[in-house]
């Protein structure tokens, strides 16, 4: 049987405010447990919440960036449940009147088409603390540093039909919130967390199937795997004539397994009611216009500009405009290096590979855009070969030296571009390889000839101690070998 997959997402986005949503404590990540939790965060008796204006501003900016209606009257509800890292015994969140109403985001797909994903709403709420289950001798530790960190929870319509679409949406959202500067986007620290709602229905059917929710996925890769896993699980059940139980599931990415967390019957009755400690917040035109004036260039506009200004192709422009920090890095590179295609290749190639290998973010890169730009300039003007450039990159990365030209000099990486010298090297090498020369000249197929040309490059580079300009060598070779 053929199935349609229906996917909706709920995304928790931590807002990059300096202080918490209802208290003056710092939101910085990584401090000693409970050093960023004051009397309000600890829910000490008699303490009261005071809303953080910046969290509202960020939420409104998100709404404007997703073409959404802004809720003019924003209310908070209490969501009641007991958990040790939930200090008040309720989470302050929004239900009836969220700050961001219906909106939408357009995503680009690999086949070159794009798709509109509708956002049902996005609401403001406070994060919980963390329970620490290790190192406490059979007990649990509670760290309330995160308690009260502002979140927006973005809830989409079930508009996605493949894991690819869901991941494309998630990446687009990541790109949006980092570009807006309202979230640091650091998924390894939980700054964005995804819940995936999945259901299957017979192909073409109008009726939605029973859905499950897989919670707390914190990387794009796990999200993709979790969707594939859950689709397969549901398909197996349905094709065996079984029924899907509405439930919340947890996915273990390291083992590619999932298990049920709780069924609908076991779900809490959260007893939502309006929080009497917080008055409804009126969002007026002036506040919205102020937020609008703060909107930076958004990814779609940036992509268009990258194509226009730098002549990048659609793919390169898409990748480089997607992440705010990467975009900024690219533009810094371009301020110091003129060849956009070279810069794009180096950023997506060597640079990204090294960041990934060392699990570093762009911000943590030991190489600046200015340095990479200088290197790109030296590649473009034939001062170094790409092999030499890799050595320069290495020296920059390790911090051995921070000046591109100084590294080229010190390591003797400057290319020989003197045609006279290169010609005599070519003559010498060809003289030593008569069989290969004959074979080349006897070959008809241009593709094969081109490949065979590579066979001469090794010895040539060796002869020039790696300093011969490969481009010039190539030209000379073609001329000397003749047609």
């Amino acid at each position: 049987m053929q199935w349609d997959i229906v996917i909706g997402l709920e995304i928790h986005v931590q807002l990059a405010t300096k202080t918490k949503i209802f208290s003056g404590s710092s939101t910085a990540f990584g401090a000693e447990p409970n050093t960023q939790a004051n009397a309000v965060d600890l829910a000490m008796p008699g303490t009261l919440p005071v809303p953080n204006e910046q969290a509202f501003r960020y939420a409104v900016m998100f709404g404007l960036a997703t073409n959404a209606e802004i809720g003019r009257r924003s209310m908070f509800e209490r969501k009641n449940y007991f958990y040790p890292d939930l200090p008040k015994g309720y989470q302050t969140t929004q239900l009836a009147q969220p700050i961001v109403g219906p909106g939408h985001v357009d995503i680009d797909l690999a086949d070159g088409t794009n798709k509109r994903v509708r956002i049902h709403h996005a609401h403001l709420e406070e994060d919980a603390g963390k329970s620490l289950h290790e190192d406490y001798h059979g007990m649990s530790g509670i760290d309330l540093n995160r308690a009260g960190t502002p979140l927006i929870e973005v809830v989409t319509e079930p508009d996605m039909n493949t894991a690819e679409e869901a991941v494309a949406f998630a990446k687009k959202l990541h790109s949006l919130v980092t570009s807006l500067g309202i979230c640091d986007g650091d998924m390894s620290q939980g700054s964005m967390r995804f819940d995936v709602n999945i259901s299957l229905k017979p192909k073409g059917s109008e009726t939605l199937g029973t859905r499950t929710e897989t919670k707390n996925l914190n990387s794009f890769r796990f999200m993709e795997q979790a969707i594939a896993h859950e689709v397969e699980r549901q398909m197996d059940i349905l094709e065996d004539g079984g029924t899907i139980i509405q439930e919340t599931r947890l996915y273990n990415g390291d083992r590619d397994e999932s298990r049920s967390m709780r069924s609908k019957e076991e779900a809490n009755d959260y007893r939502y009611f309006p929080c009497p400690d917080l008055l409804p917040v009126e969002i007026d035109d002036a506040f919205i216009e102020d937020a609008r004036a703060r909107l930076p260039e958004l990814p779609d506009a940036r992509k268009a500009r990258f194509k226009e200004q730098y002549g990048l192709n659609d793919y390169d422009a898409g990748v480089l405009s997607g992440d705010a920090k990467l975009s900024a890095f690219f533009e810094e590179t371009m301020a110091h290096g003129k060849d956009a295609k070279l810069a794009a290749n180096w950023i997506q190639g060597e640079f990204s590979a090294r960041l990934n290998a060392e699990e570093k973010s762009v911000a943590e890169s030991p190489i600046s855009g200015a340095q990479l730009g200088a290197l790109v300039t030296r590649i473009a003007d034939n001062t170094v070969s790409s092999a030499g450039a890799k050595k320069v990159f290495e020296a920059l990365w390790s911090g051995e030296n921070d000046n591109v030209d100084a590294i080229i000099d010190a390591k003797g990486l400057k290319q020989v571009s003197d045609t006279g010298a290169l010609e005599s090297m070519v003559d010498e090498v060809l003289a030593g390889m008569p069989d290969q020369v004959a074979q080349y000249q006897g070959e008809e197929d241009p593709k094969k000839r081109k490949k065979m040309l590579g066979g001469f490059m090794g010895p040539l580079m060796k002869a020039s101690k790696g300093q011969g300009n490969p481009k010039l060598f190539n030209e000379i070779l073609v001329r000397k070998l003749g047609d």
Binding site: M44, P45, G46, V50, N80, P87, F273
Partner: protein, 485 residues
């Protein structure tokens, strides 16, 4: 000294006849000697009081004294006091010492007032007789001479009894459904519940957040005005606190009452009120007529729904407000919990008293899926109707007058087994909290040797007018000066 008012004690200190240290010591000695009869204090904080008295004397020597500098008083044990146990009348917080002050506490400290300790109260302010306190019932100073142990009212019963017994000249209270006015009436003192949002709730342990309001309890309207001058005002730490100028509440105490339009809500003079009580209240209203006021009957048609609406809204809010008492971070935790659920359930089963548990259950039920619309939403609609009744009434009259309670102080234990009859104690006070308007209880006579209170209800932010009306009444009557034997 113990019979003097705040205003009089302030003059004594100013004249230099006595130092704050001496005055504080005298009050502490008397408090320790006498309170065995009433159990009106949970904690007497001698050490802190004497230290505050010393600083008060220094403040005065430096020429920085306010009216309150060096004057002793007490806080209801619901206001957090940095370094002094704040129990809220509960086993749950029996050993809780807050590392912060409530805003009200801070303000009295800044004025140089000397806090002698923390007064007894119904557990988490839930009760109308002060019998639900983990620290034992409070006995009303009135009726003791006949060998009767009567309730002081609640939940601010400790403050009311302490002021009536002259243990302190004044004390703070809080009022969610009548918890300042009802005990003030039963103990023959003066109490004011301000407009919701007039006094900061920060550091005042929450019962029902949309109804709770702190206010003064003293023997006279003048002293209540002096307390309001300290307590009232905007607080950036409380989002429901209103940013509005605070008048000098003593400045208008002597305005003449000629032309004051008084409304008598007919629903508050119903069969629930005993004829003897009604006579006292009507006598008091006649005094106002003599002072030049005019009187007419008005109607609050939805007043009869107030108790029902209140007992949905207040427990609903309380059910969430009290969730933080879970044994995880502070307060009581059961012994040897075997797992998390066991810790939660036994901590709360052992730490909360019966009335608190009853209200948590009622509140949780009212908020449950399937019942929310029928209970909580309906109660909120009723609340708006009640509010509208008062708004309409204040188009016709300046203030409303009524009894505070249906009957005088009852004997301890009389109503403890019948929660509904206990809830009806607040039948004349509860609607005021639902509407968020201010109201006072003023001593207005006696029935069977027990004090009767007159309730004066005003429009939003009319505290100055209420205090003025009460003060003028106290210039021509001496009910507020009667002392229990």
């Amino acid at each position: 000294m113990h019979n003097k008012s705040v205003a009089e004690l302030s003059k004594e200190l100013e004249s230099g006849k006595i130092s704050s240290l001496e005055l504080t010591q005298q009050f502490l000695d008397r408090l320790k000697r006498e309170d065995g009869k009433y159990n009106s204090f949970i904690t007497i904080s001698d050490e802190q009081a004497l230290a505050e008295a010393e600083s008060a004397d220094e403040m005065r020597a430096a020429g920085k004294a306010t009216v309150w500098t060096g004057v002793p008083f007490a806080h209801k044990d619901i206001f957090c006091t940095n370094g002094v146990r704040t129990s809220c009348g509960s086993k749950m917080l029996e050993n809780f010492v807050p590392p912060y002050d409530a805003t009200v506490t801070e303000k009295f400290k800044a004025a140089g007032a000397v806090c002698l300790g923390k007064t007894n109260m119904d557990e988490f302010a839930m009760g109308s007789s002060n019998e639900s306190s983990f620290f034992g019932a409070v006995t009303n100073p009135w009726g003791l001479s006949n060998g009767e142990k009567r309730v002081p009212g609640g939940s601010s019963g400790g403050s009311a009894a302490a002021v009536a017994a002259r243990l302190v000249p004044a004390a703070t209270g809080t009022d969610t459904g009548g918890s300042i006015r009802q005990p003030a009436a039963l103990c023959g003192i003066t109490g004011l519940k301000p407009t919701y949002g007039r006094v900061s709730r920060y550091g005042m342990i929450a019962f029902a957040s949309s109804l709770d309001q702190g206010g003064p309890m003293a023997r006279s309207a003048e002293d209540a005005a002096l307390m309001m001058n300290v307590m009232a005002g905007f607080d950036p730490k409380d989002s429901t606190c209103i940013d509005r100028d605070v008048p000098d509440y003593t400045a208008t105490l002597n305005e003449p009452l000629k032309g004051l339009k008084i409304g008598l809500p007919k629903e508050y003079f119903s069969e629930q009120l005993s004829p003897a009580m009604e006579e006292q209240v009507r006598n008091a209203v006649r005094e106002y007529e003599k002072l030049g006021a005019t009187v007419k009957e008005v109607s609050l048609p939805n007043a009869k729904l107030a108790i029902a609406a209140y007992y949905v809204i207040a427990p609903a809010e309380a059910s969430a407000n009290l969730s933080r008492f879970d044994g995880v971070r502070y307060g009581y935790r059961c012994a040897d919990p075997k797992d998390l659920m066991d810790m939660y359930t036994r901590t709360r089963a052992e730490g909360f008293g019966n009335e608190v548990k009853r209200r948590i259950l009622v509140g949780s039920y009212a908020l449950s899926a399937g019942y929310f619309d029928a209970y909580y939403l309906k109660a909120q609609k009723v609340r708006r109707l009640i509010q509208q009744d008062f708004i309409n009434a204040f188009k016709e009259v300046d203030v409303l007058m009524s009894p505070v309670t249906p009957s005088p102080a009852f004997i301890q234990g009389e109503k403890t087994t019948d929660p509904v009859s206990m809830y009806l104690e607040d039948v004349f006070t509860i609607a005021i909290n639902l509407a968020g308007i201010p109201a006072m209880s003023v001593p207005a006579g006696f029935v069977d040797g027990l004090p009767v209170g007159l309730q004066i209800i005003g429009d939003y932010f009319s505290e100055a007018r209420l205090l003025n009306a009460a003060h003028q009444f106290q210039q021509v009557t001496d009910w507020h000066q009667r002392e229990p034997q």
